[in-house]
C-alpha cells in the first residue's frame, strides 16, 4: 500500500492510505506498548526476583480508563474508514461509463461506442464509472493500485468509479474465488493521456469498421477477446481447461456424448454445437461442465468470424 | 457415597435440568426456522406482487382446517400432562391417542394438498414453475421446503408421542416421572408454534 509507485494512481489512494496509516499506527503503538509492559513484568516479577506476589483484585478506575480510551480510538477509526469510503460510493455525474463483464475466467470491457476490449484503457484525469456485470458466478473487480474492489454478482447491478491521476499500467485481479482458474483471471488498466485516448478510440473504431467486412480472421480474434475464450483455450495447441483451437477444423476428434465415446469431424456444425451446447460433446481427456452455453451471446455472424479464424489456424 | 448429592452414574433424575435442556433444543429449532423466515421475508420483500399472487393459489380452507386441528392437538397434548399428574392413566392415553390421530389427519391433509400441487405441475424444479417466473418459483420453493421441514417435525413428534404412549401404557411413565411426556409436549407445541407463523405467511397474506 504505502508504496511510491501507486501514489495518486487514483484519487482514492491518499485517503485510504492515510486511514490505513492511522489504524496501523495505533495498532503498532498498542502492540509494542503492551508487549513491552508484558515482557518487563515477566522479567521483573519472575519467581526468582519476586518470590511473593502482591494480592490485587482489580481496579474500577483502571477498568474505566482502558474501556474509554480504546472506545474513543475505535470510533475515530470508524469515522476515518467511513469518510474514506463514502467518496467511493458517490459517483460523479460526468463519469464515463464502461461496462465491465466478468465470466469464468476473464474480464471484458465494453465502451459506450460498442467497442470491446480485454484490457481496460482509460484517459487520465477523467472519472470512469464501471458498470459491473457477471455472467456465471460471483467475481470481484479489484484494482489494487486504485484501492477499489467490488464484487460482481450475477443478476445484480453494481458499479464502481475511479479517477486516475497517473499514467501507467495497473493490474486488475479477480478477488472473489470463482473456480478452477480464479488465480489467472487477471487483466490490466492502462491509463493514458486524454488526447491519446480519444485518438485510440478513433483508430480502433476505424479499424473495426474496415476489418469487419473484409478481414474475417482479424474479426475472429476480437470475438475471442470479447468473450474471454482465451482464458481456457489456446491458439498454440497447448492444453488449458479446454482443447486448443489449433488444428480443430478438419480434425477427427474423439468425444464423449452421453457417456458414449464416438468420433466426430471438426467442422462448422461441430464448432457451433461446442459453443451453443458445450456439454453435449466433451473431447476425451477434458472435464464436463466447465463451460457454459453462449447461445444467447455469440451471434451467427460472430460465429462465422470464428470459423474463418480457426481455419487459418489449421492451415 | 452416603450423601444425598446426586451422582451422574447413579439412577438419578434432574427434571428441571431435562426441561431446560429441552427448551434449549427448542431454541435451536426456532433458530432453524428463523433462518427460513429471514429468507422468506427477503424474497417477499423483493417480489411482493408475485408472492401475493402465488399465495392465492393455496387453499385457505385447508390451511385453516389444519391450523385448527393442530391447535386442538396442542391442547390435548397439554391436557395429557395434567391427566398424568392426576394419575388418570386411561385419560392420559386417550388424550395422547387423540393427539396422534390429529397429527395423522394433519399429514393426510398435507398429503392431499401437496398431491394437488404436484398434479398441477407445481413442485420444486418443475417446468411449469419455472415458466411462472422468479417470484413464483421462490414462493413455491419456500412453500415446499418450509412445510416439508415442518412435516418432518410432525413425524418426529408423532414418533415421540408414540413412545410416550407406549411407556404410559406399560406404566414406566407415571405421575412420578412425567418429564418425558412434558418434554414431548414442549416439542409438540413448538411444532404448533411454527405452524402458527407458516399459516398466515403462506395462506393468508394474499
Amino acid at each position: 500500500m504505502i508504496d511510491k509507485t501507486t501514489q495518486n494512481a487514483s484519487t482514492f489512494v491518499s485517503q485510504v492510505d492515510s486511514a490505513f496509516l492511522f489504524i496501523f499506527g495505533v495498532a503498532l503503538f498498542f502492540l509494542f506498548a503492551i508487549t513491552a509492559v508484558m515482557v518487563y513484568y515477566i522479567y521483573r516479577y519472575q519467581k526468582s526476583k519476586n518470590p511473593v506476589a502482591t494480592h490485587i483484585e482489580g481496579s474500577t478506575k483502571l477498568e474505566i480508563v482502558w474501556t474509554v480510551i480504546p472506545t474513543i480510538l475505535v470510533l475515530v477509526m470508524f469515522s476515518y474508514g467511513w469518510s474514506g469510503w463514502k467518496n467511493q460510493r458517490e459517483i460523479p455525474d460526468d463519469a464515463m461509463p464502461v461496462k465491465a463483464i466478468a465470466r469464468m475466467w476473464s474480464f471484458a470491457f465494453e465502451y459506450p461506442n460498442g467497442m470491446v476490449t480485454d484490457t481496460l484503457i482509460v484517459p487520465k484525469d477523467r472519472p470512469i464509472k464501471l458498470d459491473l456485470v457477471a455472467q456465471d458466478v460471483i467475481h470481484s473487480m479489484y484494482i489494487p493500485a486504485f484501492r477499489v474492489k467490488q464484487d460482481m454478482v450475477p443478476g445484480k447491478k453494481s458499479n464502481i468509479w475511479f479517477e486516475s491521476e497517473r499514467e501507467g499500467k495497473y493490474e486488475i485481479f479477480c478477488a472473489e474465488y470463482c473456480g478452477l482458474r480464479h488465480s489467472y483471471m487477471m487483466s490490466a488498466v492502462k491509463v493514458i493521456p486524454e488526447g491519446d485516448f480519444d485518438k485510440w478510440m478513433e483508430e480502433n473504431k476505424a479499424l473495426e469498421d474496415a476489418t469487419g467486412g473484409t478481414n474475417k480472421r482479424l474479426a475472429g480474434v476480437s470475438v475471442l477477446r470479447k468473450y474471454g475464450c482465451n482464458a481456457c483455450h489456446t491458439v498454440d495447441g497447448s492444453k488449458l481447461v479446454g482443447p486448443s483451437y489449433k488444428g480443430i477444423i478438419g480434425s477427427t476428434r474423439t468425444v464423449i456424448t452421453d457417456g458414449q465415446e464416438r468420433q466426430v469431424v471438426g467442422d462448422e456444425d461441430y464448432i457451433r454445437r461446442s459453443i451453443y451446447e458445450p456439454n453435449a460433446d466433451i473431447v476425451k481427456g477434458f472435464d464436463k461442465g466447465l463451460m457454459l452455453s453462449y447461445k444467447d451471446q455469440v451471434t451467427e455472424e460472430e460465429l462465422q468470424h470464428l470459423i474463418e479464424y480457426f481455419k487459418s489456424l489449421s492451415e | 457415597m452416603s450423601q444425598t448429592i446426586t451422582v451422574a452414574h447413579d439412577i438419578h433424575r434432574d427434571d428441571e435440568g431435562s426441561k431446560i435442556g429441552m427448551w434449549l433444543f427448542i431454541f435451536t429449532e426456532l433458530l432453524l426456522f428463523a433462518g427460513l423466515f429471514i429468507v422468506y421475508g427477503v424474497y417477499r420483500y423483493l417480489n411482493p406482487v408475485a408472492f401475493h399472487l402465488a399465495a392465492e393459489e393455496l387453499n385457505v380452507t385447508v390451511g385453516t382446517l389444519n391450523t385448527v386441528i393442530l391447535l386442538c392437538s396442542s391442547a390435548t397434548m397439554a391436557m395429557a400432562s395434567t391427566a398424568i399428574r392426576m394419575r388418570k392413566k386411561a385419560l392420559t392415553l386417550t388424550l395422547l391417542g387423540i393427539t396422534l390421530f390429529i397429527a395423522f389427519m394433519f399429514m393426510v391433509n398435507k398429503y392431499f394438498e401437496w398431491k394437488g400441487k404436484f398434479g398441477h405441475g407445481i413442485f420444486p424444479g418443475s417446468e411449469d414453475l419455472l415458466q411462472l417466473g422468479h417470484g413464483d418459483t421462490l414462493f413455491f420453493g419456500l412453500y415446499f421446503f418450509m412445510t416439508g421441514l415442518h412435516a418432518l417435525h410432525i413425524i418426529i413428534g408423532f414418533i415421540l408421542i408414540t413412545i410416550v404412549a407406549v411407556r404410559v401404557n406399560n406404566n414406566s411413565l407415571t405421575s412420578e416421572n412425567p418429564v418425558l411426556l412434558d418434554n414431548s409436549g414442549l416439542y409438540w407445541h413448538l411444532v404448533d408454534l411454527i405452524w402458527i407463523f407458516l399459516f398466515p405467511l403462506f395462506y393468508l397474506i394474499a
Binding site: - | 431454541f27 391442547a75 409436549g185 407463523f197
Partner: protein, 95 residues
Amino acid sequence: MENHNDSHIVPFKTYGIILAVLIVLTLISVAVTQIDLASLTVFTAILLASIKSGIVLVYFMHLKFDNLMMKIFVTAVFVLVALVMVVTFLDYNYR
C-alpha cells in the same frame, strides 16, 4: 435439587378456554386478511400470529409457571431473532 414435577397442575378447563381463544384468533386472522387492508395486511397477520404464539408459549408451554430465568431466556431468544431480521433488512431496505 428437588424435582418439583407436581409444582403446578393446570386444570383441563384452562386449556379448554385457551384452545377456544386460539381458534377464535385463527378465524379472526382469516377473516381479517379477506378484507383488503393494503399494507396493513401483513402487519395484522403477523401481529395475530405473534399473539397466538405468545399464548401457546405462556399456557401450553407452561412459561407462566416457570421461573424467571426461563422467561428471560425465551424472551431473549425472540428478541434476538427479531434483531437479526432487523439487521438483515438494513441491507435490503436501503439497497
